[in-house]
Symmetry: C2
Subunit: 140 residues, 2 copies
DNA sequence: CGAGTTACTTGACAATCTCAAATATCCAGG
DNA sequence: CCTGGATATTTGAGATTGTCAAGTAACTCG
């Protein structure tokens, strides 16, 4: 089982681990700045473009639908999200941002410095190279 | 506040988001394969090289020390970790892996496919380029 | 020695997550 | 139309992770 990895690959994996850690810290920090948890910020971002059914939120988050109920409950209690009926299917509830929710989502995006800071180090050419490598890694 | 980002940067940020999501899924899956939670797997990995003081674990995880107490409690209850006194400071408790804990940590590393699968797409030259770009991004 | 700091634990509480069960609705075949 | 099976959501129980405040033990330094 133990597939030996060459030092280069090991280093790349470790660097990716650092990027992941950094990304999470930034995300949590940005959420906390607005008195949100990471999960709440993620969900608010998800539905900021258009109303999304509970089921679909669960799929995106890769969790059980019953978990989404609680997260939407808390966002709704804070007036950031509201539940709407789906005209096409009365079983479905769509989670939609309120005006305040939309403002909050925009503010969250702005305070996510992860995008700016580390990438500012790279030139446009380097970003293109990075984009292509990441695309290939992700099999796109 | 709203700093407009060019399309290239936006795409790179989205790709990094995908890498982060993928990394987490893999990590949780690998942990679950061994009936561990993500946090337990992370801590076990941390102390698999050498015993680590509770305090230091908390710093690495960026959480409160009181949180680490519970995680180590559960790992200890499963016989994967034991608490040892620090000969140099009687206040300190060192969390050290048991034999079984060491085996578990090794098995976890082996089942972390994230390293292998996506990077297998890239040649050695490409990995070198990726490594250098990630290093610069992280300011190393 | 004594004051202040440090390390860890405990207890109370919130949020996130899973699973099983309940309710309401949809859909397809008869 | 009507019934059986699938789907969407919620509820409730319980585990885990996280915070904060308070408590205990041990270290450090003047």
């Amino acid at each position: 089982m133990a597939m030996r990895m060459d030092p280069l690959t090991v280093e790349v994996v470790e660097l990716i681990g650092s990027v992941v850690a950094r990304y999470h810290e930034e995300y949590e920090r940005a959420a906390a700045e607005h008195a949100l948890t990471g999960a709440q910020a993620r969900v608010l971002g998800l539905l900021s473009l258009e109303p999304v059914a509970m089921r679909k939120i669960a799929r995106k988050l890769k969790c059980e639908p019953s978990n989404v109920t609680g997260i939407i409950d808390r966002l709704e209690a804070r007036g950031l999200v509201e539940r709407r009926p789906d005209p096409a299917d009365r079983r479905v509830k769509l989670a939609a941002p309120t005006e305040e929710g939309r403002r909050m989502a925009a503010a969250l995006r702005d305070s996510l410095d992860f995008a700016r800071e580390p990438l500012a180090e790279l030139s446009a050419e380097e970003r293109t190279v990075l984009r292509d490598l990441l695309r290939r890694m992700l099999g796109q």
